[in-house]
């Protein structure tokens, strides 16, 4: 589990540039799936055929990052955000580009150091002394460069959002015995910039029921916003988030499966943010859709933290859902 998570977390894959992650996952699931497909938006589907319902399970491969918007004569890069970058956490961080170039995020002299600087005040220094020495080009994308670490039973790394979900899908697919349903494990693209991979793959798969597996926030850190989800409390079963209301039948079925198997779980009401489930739910004439969430602290920072026990309970809950009858 730890090794799968480490490899996924450290891989490079800003929205729209998921190929490295896709190839990594392809290698992890190839021998466990009946069929692999990649669609026009780069979504990877690992399919296990079975006689029951057509079920889509989605986790997104992409991560937030930066995109180079301008390179000045001295070789400093200006950049814009890919997804919900948090300016508060950027200064001093390193970014890495697809070609391996590493840069440091620096900041102009600030008039008021008590305020979080706008993105336009920040730049990336790739160690060049002139424009000619810079290998990256305008339009190239970078991700936060940060290695994976364990902190007790907790895993810390960049892009746990949503490589933790990808890991859950990989591990569930590997553990799954005989397949009762026609299951499309879908590793989606471009979630962070508007659920775009899930929108297209939701239409393409045309599922009868769907689940997303993604991270959710917690309310268990000092002076956190009010939220009844804690790290280590088990997989969270989503009731609602900022973008969707989970299908009540899917939500209750997840609760029932968790209770039958004695899996720890928590019910989740998240006030901001959303997941691929929002897009899949309204695909075509509508799809009953739910979400298994992995509680995660410090989302959209370089050090997103999850609990391995929660990841394990998410894997087991997903398996329990897929191995049983799905009557809503």
């Amino acid at each position: 589990m730890e090794e799968v998570l480490r490899a996924l977390s450290e891989a490079y894959g800003p929205s729209g540039n998921e190929s490295e992650v896709r190839e990594l996952i392809r290698g992890m699931v190839e021998s466990y799936a009946d069929e692999l497909r990649v669609d026009a938006l780069g979504n990877l589907m690992a399919i296990r055929h079975g006689p029951g319902k057509r079920v889509m399970v989605a986790a997104h491969m992409d991560e937030i990052g930066v995109i180079v918007s301008h390179i000045d004569d001295k070789g400093f890069l200006r950049f814009s955000n890919i997804g919900g970058l948090q300016n508060l956490t950027l200064l001093g961080n390193r970014v890495r580009f697809a070609d391996g170039t590493v840069g440091v995020i620096g900041c102009e002299k600030l008039e008021d150091r008590s305020k979080v600087p706008e993105l336009s005040k920040l730049f990336i220094d790739v160690g060049a002394s002139s424009k000619g020495e810079v290998r990256v080009r305008v339009g190239d994308m970078g991700v936060i460069d940060r290695s994976f670490a364990m902190a007790g039973s907790r895993a810390v790394g960049k892009a746990m959002d949503d490589r933790a979900g990808c890991a859950a899908l990989v591990l569930a697919l590997r553990k799954m015995g005989e397949c009762r349903h026609d299951v499309y494990f879908t590793f989606t693209t471009q979630e962070e910039i508007g659920l775009r991979g899930a929108t297209a793959s939701g239409f393409g798969v045309d599922p009868e029921v769907a689940l997303a597996v993604d991270v959710t926030a917690t309310g268990d850190t000092p002076k956190a916003p009010t939220m009844a989800v804690s790290l280590g409390g088990g997989a969270a079963i989503k009731v609602r988030d900022g973008g969707m209301l989970a299908h009540p039948g899917v939500k209750e079925l997840l609760v029932r499966r968790a209770e039958e198997r004695g899996l720890p779980y928590q019910l989740e009401v998240l006030e901001g943010g959303t997941t691929d489930a929002r897009a899949i739910q309204t695909s075509r004439a509508g799809v009953p859709t739910g979400v298994i969430s992995i509680p995660c602290r410090y989302i959209h920072t370089a050090s997103e933290m999850i609990d391995l026990g929660d990841l394990e309970s998410a894997v087991n809950l997903l398996l329990a859902f897929l191995e049983g009858e799905i009557e809503l």
């Binding site: 009010t226 009844a228 209301l245 989740e268 004439a285 509508g286």
Partner: protein, 356 residues
């Protein structure tokens, strides 16, 4: 069931977005005598289908949509003996303290939205709106008992009965948009006496208040040739500007603007004039914020209209509409349906701007 009885039943039923089952049951049983088929789709939308009385191989389809969900709350945390809540849709936070509510826990639990009494508030806070974060719901249970009855994610609705005011006005929670659903009911009844060559899909939609989500999927499912949404619009009150607000009891509003197909606007206006139904014209410069907005761009696009019911005190527990406006909207819709024929279909299909 009379229109008033129907409206009382549907407004008093709980049906927050995503959890419309209480309302759905009433709608299904009330609509079923007036339609040929009744379906519930994967998003919980109710489709009441009346087949064309003048038979065709594949009659064109008109979709009439009104949303049955209401705004509400969801429990986000059980905090000792009270519940911390989050909005489903958007109430006016100013009017929340002191509201009676119903918590849909293991059993229905009457409760109240609590806050500190004014006596203990510092003077500067008395003038301020209390943010939802500082409000809570109290159902009278102790901290030990509460988790046995309530889970995170349980829904909460306002607890307010239907009240008849003077002059045909009625007051209730959730008239947004159960008044629209009542207009569909009235339309289906009216259609009993009319001949029509299009199939009618009267759809009570879900999840409008959280992003027009039921309309989006049901419009895909129905695949209509034209559609009309019925929703509430701003009723005029003394302190409201005249622009963008509409008198109660002066008839339904026929919307005009980019969300509205010009042919649909004309058909509605012509029908209202022919039947001498009073109406008001509501210009909407951009997104209408109604199901019409989602339906218009379903599949390859749907010529869409919007009929508005003037309503006072929107998104409060004391919403007010005029019953006569609902009847008029129902009659307008039914007679519009009866005028739909092949010629109208070609008018919808002509490029925009080539005719009116």
């Amino acid at each position: 069931m009379t229109l008033g009885e129907f409206l009382k039943a549907v407004t008093e039923a709980p049906g927050p977005s995503g959890y419309e089952e209480g309302v759905r049951q009433i709608v299904r049983s009330a609509f079923s005598p007036y339609c040929d088929e009744l379906r519930v789709d994967p998003m919980g939308n109710v489709w009441a289908v009346r087949r064309a009385t003048r038979r065709a191989d594949r009659a064109p389809r008109i979709m009439l949509a009104a949303h049955m969900d209401e705004i509400g709350f969801v429990v986000k945390k059980i905090d000792a003996h009270v519940l911390r809540v989050s909005q489903v849709g958007g109430f006016d936070v100013r009017i929340l303290p002191g509201q009676p509510v119903l918590v849909h826990g293991k059993v229905p639990l009457p409760g109240v939205i609590g806050s500190r009494p004014p006596h203990v508030l510092p003077p500067d806070e008395r003038e301020k709106v209390i943010p939802l974060d500082e409000l809570f719901v109290d159902v009278g249970l102790t901290a030990e008992e509460l988790p046995r009855y309530v889970r995170v994610g349980d829904l909460i609705t306002l607890r307010r009965g239907y009240v008849e005011l003077r002059n045909g006005l009625v007051m209730s929670k959730a008239l947004d948009d159960r008044a629209g659903v009542a207009a569909l009911y009235s339309c289906l009844q009216e259609l009993q006496a009319l001949q029509h060559s299009w199939d009618v899909f009267a759809v009570a939609t879900t999840q409008e208040e959280v992003g027009l989500r039921g309309a989006m999927t049901s419009a895909y499912g129905v695949a209509p040739d034209a559609a009309i949404a019925v929703d509430v619009t701003f009723g005029r009150t003394p302190d409201c500007p005249d622009i963008g607000t509409f008198e109660l009891d002066k008839g339904p509003c026929i919307a005009r603007g980019p969300n509205i197909h010009p042919v649909m606007f004309s058909l509605l206006e012509e029908t209202a004039k022919r039947l001498e139904i009073p109406y008001q014209t509501e210009p909407i410069p951009g997104r209408s914020g109604t199901d019409a907005w989602a339906i218009q761009v379903a599949r390859e696009g749907v010529p869409t209209g919007l009929v508005g019911l003037p309503l006072r005190y929107m998104h409060t527990p004391g919403e007010v509409v005029c019953l006569r406006d609902i009847e008029r909207a129902g009659r307008l819709l039914a007679h519009l349906v009866a005028t739909l024929d092949e010629r109208v279909l070609s008018r919808f299909r002509a490029p925009l701007g080539s005719s009116s």
